[in-house]
């Protein structure tokens, strides 16, 4: 392999892993509060289509991203009201949200399929970007990649070092105890759900405005589901979520590289590689752990305050 190929693989690895990283960080926060939202895929698609339509009609990428975040928040608000106010089953509600989001995004995006926009461009820093191997990976990405890294740092610090993060973990572990010592369980869970929605919306719009600047039905292609698995196999640790997201990116690129090199394996089979590789690595990492100490203990269980 020549240097250029390696440079490009590393660049594309980070780029491909970015939407996954963003949506998984949102889901991580959500699950830390004890809420399991399976609606990631639907929220991502809504973010993707809304972001695309807004950018196409206003010409502003910024507005597109903001609109996508808003769309994700609104979708998660539906989830929040149904699971928190009506105490509905989180799994069923999340599944319904994904089906709803998939259908609705296809419906409102019908007239936008195949329309071209100018997507978010990578930055170019003279000299640094042209460095061999790491130049494009570190200094030639688009702004959202750097934002995703900032988000990772923020989430990592929040969970491990901040007081609100401690409250978040406490609520996810034992909402009844949290309520008994006076922590606002409902508020914490709502905020976590909305953050998860915002991140899913942003991740969706990264697909339609930066990664492949166009709108296509079902364009998230299961990334929402992979993000859910990622959080579990990352043992609810932010640093492992980052690792898993980039692994997924690397495997996605490698399967294209292998095809390009003319491997005589069915391309469909090769396309499963990123999913298999990511899960395999994380399963190995998370084996031999005491699962009762890793998962938020109240995950998926509704909380009823007794008065």
């Amino acid at each position: 392999m020549d240097i250029d190929l390696i440079t490009n693989i590393l660049y594309a690895m980070v780029r491909t892993g970015t939407p996954l990283l963003i949506v998984a960080l949102g889901e991580l926060i959500c699950e830390k509060s004890g809420v399991l939202n399976l609606g990631q895929e639907g929220m991502m698609l809504m973010g993707a289509v809304v972001g695309f339509i807004v950018t196409l009609s206003t010409g502003s990428l910024t507005l597109g991203f903001l609109a996508a975040i808003l769309a994700g928040i609104l979708m998660s608000l539906i989830f929040g009201v149904i699971t928190m106010e009506l105490s509905a089953n989180q799994v069923a509600t999340g599944l319904a949200l994904t089906i709803f989001g998939t259908g609705l995004s296809a419906f409102i995006g019908t007239n936008y399929v195949g329309k071209p926009i100018t997507g978010l461009e990578p930055i170019d820093i003279p000299v640094l970007t042209d460095l061999p191997i790491i130049g494009r990976m570190l200094f030639g990405q688009d702004l959202l990649v750097y934002l995703s890294l900032a988000l990772f740092g923020g989430v990592y610090w929040f969970i491990n070092h901040s007081r609100p993060g401690l409250i978040l973990k406490a609520v996810g572990e034992n909402p009844h105890s949290a309520n008994a010592i006076g922590l606002p369980v409902f508020k914490v869970r709502y905020l976590a759900i909305l953050f998860g929605g915002a991140m899913a919306g942003l991740a969706g719009s990264y697909l339609s405005l930066a990664y492949t600047p166009l709108w296509m039905e079902n364009m998230s292609a299961g990334r929402g589901w992979i993000a859910l698995a990622l959080v579990v196999f990352a043992s609810w640790k932010a640093e492992r979520v980052l690792l898993g997201a980039w692994l997924f990116g690397l495997a996605s690129i490698l399967h294209l590289v292998f095809q390009g090199m003319g491997f005589s394996v069915s391309p469909n089979l090769l396309a499963t590689l990123p999913y298999l590789a990511t899960i395999a690595v994380l399963v190995i990492l998370s084996s031999n752990q005491n699962s009762r100490l890793v998962a938020p203990i109240s995950l998926g269980k509704p909380f009823y305050a007794k008065t």
Binding site: K169, N174, G182, I297, T307
Partner: protein, 522 residues
């Protein structure tokens, strides 16, 4: 100038709280002075829990008034209560297992917590001052039950505390740990802190508390100075005049071995489980063997191995002449073994099934099922007979199991097992959360079964109960069982040491007579 009397620290006036179908608190009046240790006595369902939740801001009363240092007060929520200096130690701990001691305490302190290292050193100094050694950096799931309680207490003490509420704090402690706790509480009171001590253990209230208020059926049924009362008169205030509360039972010697456990080693697959180590145990026909122990020391694992929920390899568990180690629970039941599990709802009975159906669940071996068909008439008669013989208060055999109170459901379950005339009955915590009247009825039923020649094994955390009904007694600690002794030869102190894992035969210490305790309430 006229001198104003100092108002009590806390005054409750006419507190009333109505739940659907239940008046939990009815016009309750209570005064607690500074530096006073005040007992709140009452049976399950007397309204103790509701009342303390009102004080702590978890429950809003429908009527009534709370005065704090003489001024009216509306406790908005637990955070507000803590700001006022009201701390609470819950019966079921409100700790977070995966967080450290310091993180747990930081959560409760709100914005006053400060940074973690500073708080950790504050925790260290407070815990040393009050004789409750605790390592702030440990994760809570690694702590014993007694240590967890210390965390709850220290959590209250790192703040400026004026009123400490303890809900049944001794139910999870060994007798020695209880003594240590009392030393701490007395020290705290001498510094001016008021303590509200909620309990139904009269000996402890007598030993610790300055005054007592007794609740019954949601109302104040009396107030007294515990030191001037005997336990019987306080018990009367708790249960009323018509319930028998005081009995002693003659101790007997068993005859032939019915259950023999020899060198049982069992590896627990639960991450928080306890491994059974070299366990030896013999229960004879016609005797009751009692096993004490702090929760989580292998009781669950032992009970599961005996009932058949987990199976042991051959050669370790013998029932009469049969090696039952590898047998499933139904095969063991067919041999004459009966089992009363700790959890009434979920294992002892199916909550949403009727009493008739629940009677069938373990009674099916006694002719209630013929050729695969349920004989409903017979089953209904069986359920009716349990309800009548064991005075189960219920709307009838069609009532759902979860509609019964804990005590009544327990009477039903015990009755169901005893009516099948078992040769061996294993009962886990038979009177846990049961009021005194029902507990007495359950004890009588067990003694009667014993006198008919059955072997009975009782595992309980209630030491008074074990001394009352057991003929031989011992304790389990960390998966090991102490040698069993005839009850009259043991003592509270010795059993306490065994519960803490010290199985040495302390012959040098003369055993305290247990008859006076047996004459008391439990």
């Amino acid at each position: 100038m006229p001198q104003h009397p100092i108002p009590p620290r806390l005054t409750l006036r006419g507190i009333t709280k109505q739940y659907p179908g239940c008046l939990a608190n009815d016009d309750i009046h209570l005064n607690i002075a500074a530096a006073e240790i005040h007992a709140l006595l009452g049976e399950n369902g007397a309204g103790k829990s509701t009342l303390m939740k009102v004080i702590y801001g978890l429950v809003k009363p429908d009527r009534g008034e709370i005065l704090w240092d003489g001024l009216p007060l509306d406790v908005k929520d637990p955070a507000h209560a803590r700001k006022l200096g009201i701390g609470m130690v819950f019966q079921h701990f409100s700790l977070f297992d995966t967080l450290t001691v310091t993180e747990n305490i930081a959560l409760a302190l709100g914005d006053d917590a400060g940074d973690i290292p500073a708080l950790a050193s504050r925790i260290r100094s407070v815990s040393e001052k009050y004789g409750m050694a605790i390592n702030p950096d440990r994760q809570v799931h690694t702590l014993s039950v007694g240590e967890r309680q210390r965390v709850e207490i220290v959590r209250c003490l790192v703040q400026d505390i004026k009123l400490l509420i303890l809900d049944e704090p001794t139910s999870v402690l060994t007798p020695q740990e209880v003594d240590t706790l009392f030393v701490t509480l007395r020290q705290l009171a001498s510094e001016g802190c008021s303590i509200l001590f909620i309990s139904h253990k009269l000996n402890e209230v007598k030993a610790l508390c300055h005054r007592a208020t007794v609740l019954r059926g949601g109302r104040v049924s009396g107030a007294c100075i515990p030191a001037e009362e005997d336990t019987l008169s306080m018990a009367r205030l708790m249960v009323g005049e018509n319930t028998p509360v005081s009995t002693t039972y003659p101790k007997v010697l068993g005859t032939t071995p019915t259950l023999t456990v020899s060198n049982l080693n069992l590896h627990s697959h639960d991450a928080f489980g306890v491994h059974l180590k070299q366990l030896n145990l013999q229960v004879n026909a016609g005797e009751i063997v009692g096993i004490a122990g702090v929760a989580g020391n292998g009781q669950e694992e032992l009970l599961a191995a005996l009932s058949g929920e987990t199976r042991a390899s051959a050669g370790h568990i013998q029932f009469a002449d049969t090696d039952i180690g590898p047998l499933t629970p139904d095969r063991r039941r067919a041999l004459g073994l009966a089992f009363v599990p700790e959890e009434r709802l979920g294992r002892g009975a199916v909550p949403e099934m009727s009493l008739t159906e629940n009677a069938l669940l373990t009674g099916f071996l006694t002719g209630l099922v013929k050729r695969g068909m349920v004989a409903w008439k017979k089953t209904e008669a069986f359920a009716d007979q349990i309800i009548a013989d064991y005075k189960v208060k219920t709307a009838g055999r069609h009532a759902q199991a979860d509609s019964l109170s804990g005590g009544n459901l327990q009477k039903f379950i015990i009755g169901r097992e005893i009516m099948q005339k078992p040769r061996l009955l294993i009962a886990a915590h038979p009177t846990w959360g049961v009021d005194i009247g029902a507990a007495t009825a359950i004890h009588k039923a067990l003694i009667e079964l014993r006198d008919q020649g059955a072997a009975i094994l009782v595992v309980s955390e209630d030491i008074d109960e074990l001394f009352l009904i057991s003929d031989r007694i011992g304790a389990i600690c960390d998966g090991r069982l102490s040698p069993l002794k005839p009850t009259p030869e043991s003592s509270i102190a010795e059993l306490g040491r065994q519960m803490a894992g010290d199985f040495s035969d302390a012959a040098t210490i003369s055993p305290r007579p247990t008859t006076s305790r047996a004459g008391s309430l439990h």
